[in-house]
């Protein structure tokens, strides 16, 4: 049931995403893959190494969680990156705080729906985790659009 709900939310999100996204596919693809990699590594470390959150252990919760982690989370982060590129310098870094707050809210919704279960997790960990995730993502986005990356020739 949650799988269908999350999939529906993703389809609705996609409508907004198409209107708001300002990035070309050739930038969007590496960013999306980077977000999948770092969120995958960080979340799995929390589930299996630190054991601060109980991982989803039913098919419905498992698929719903992966729709959240692989589609919704990167999608929202990419929109935040579009916002980052429109803002001027002092406001640019405010997107990291905005992103952390939005993702903390999402995480709470995922917890309230029973997909994940907190064990020794608290709001401080949550803030640190999402701020780090948002900061790494923005840093990667800035790097991908930097003169250093784009300047010296097209090929590696």
């Amino acid at each position: 049931m949650l799988t269908y709900l999350f999939f529906l939310v993703f389809c609705l999100f996609l409508l907004f995403f198409n209107k708001l996204n300002a990035l070309p596919l050739t930038k969007l693809i590496p960013i999306w893959l980077f977000l999948l990699l770092i969120s995958g590594l960080m979340i799995n470390a929390i589930f299996t190494n630190l054991e601060l959150i109980e991982k989803p252990m039913t098919v419905d919760h498992f698929i719903a969680f992966h729709i959240f982690q692989k589609l919704l989370l990167p999608g929202v982060m990419i929109l935040l990156m579009s916002l980052y590129s429109f803002l001027t310098s002092p406001l640019k870094w405010a997107t990291t705080i905005l992103g952390a707050l939005i993702f903390m809210l999402f995480e709470k919704i995922v917890e309230l729906t029973g997909i994940i279960e907190y064990k020794h997790w608290n709001i401080g960990f949550s803030a640190l985790f999402w701020f780090t995730f948002t900061l790494l993502s923005i840093a990667f986005f800035a790097f991908l659009n930097s003169k250093r990356w784009n300047g010296d020739g097209q090929h590696v």
Binding site: P24, L25, T26, K27, I29, P30, L33, F34, L36, L37, G40, L41, M42, N44, A45, F47, T48, N49, L50, K55, P56, M57, V59, F62, L144, W149, N150, Q154, H155, V156
Partner: protein, 170 residues
Amino acid sequence: MFKAPSNFDHNEWFILVSMLLLLIAFIKMPKSMPKDLTLSIFLFFAVIDLNADVLMAASYPFDFYTITDSPKLEIFDVLVYIVNYSIYGYFFAWILSKWKMGAGVFGLFIICWSGLTTLIEWTSVKFRVFTYINGWTTAYSSLCYLFIFFFSAAVIKSLFYIWDYDARAD
């Protein structure tokens, strides 16, 4: 956050030596793809392997093997995802980009590449990089590789198309 190896033994040495060889091969090989495409291919193979391991080796939904010393996510697991799998996948994409194949040759290429990957996995099992549990064998892995490389080839071909289209539009 990521666990350090409990013993620095065969599996860590196997990972380090293979990483070094892959890095040397990558540095030496001729480069022909745009930077963003190369980065996307690296990230794609890191992501697909991380997800395959999360699906098949992380207690739920399946638990068929352990990577390196423990079921925990170790520093060497992360290095394997980011460096070894990425570069190995890049070679696969590089051959696809250089060699224009018909359907038959393409099928044969996927079978051979899956066979080579199975052979590397069999060697890595000997060095205890992977420890099979719950009845898993290398034969099952070879079937998974067939699926993974067919899927990867479809994604890589799509990436080539997107970057070609973008270059023509510029």
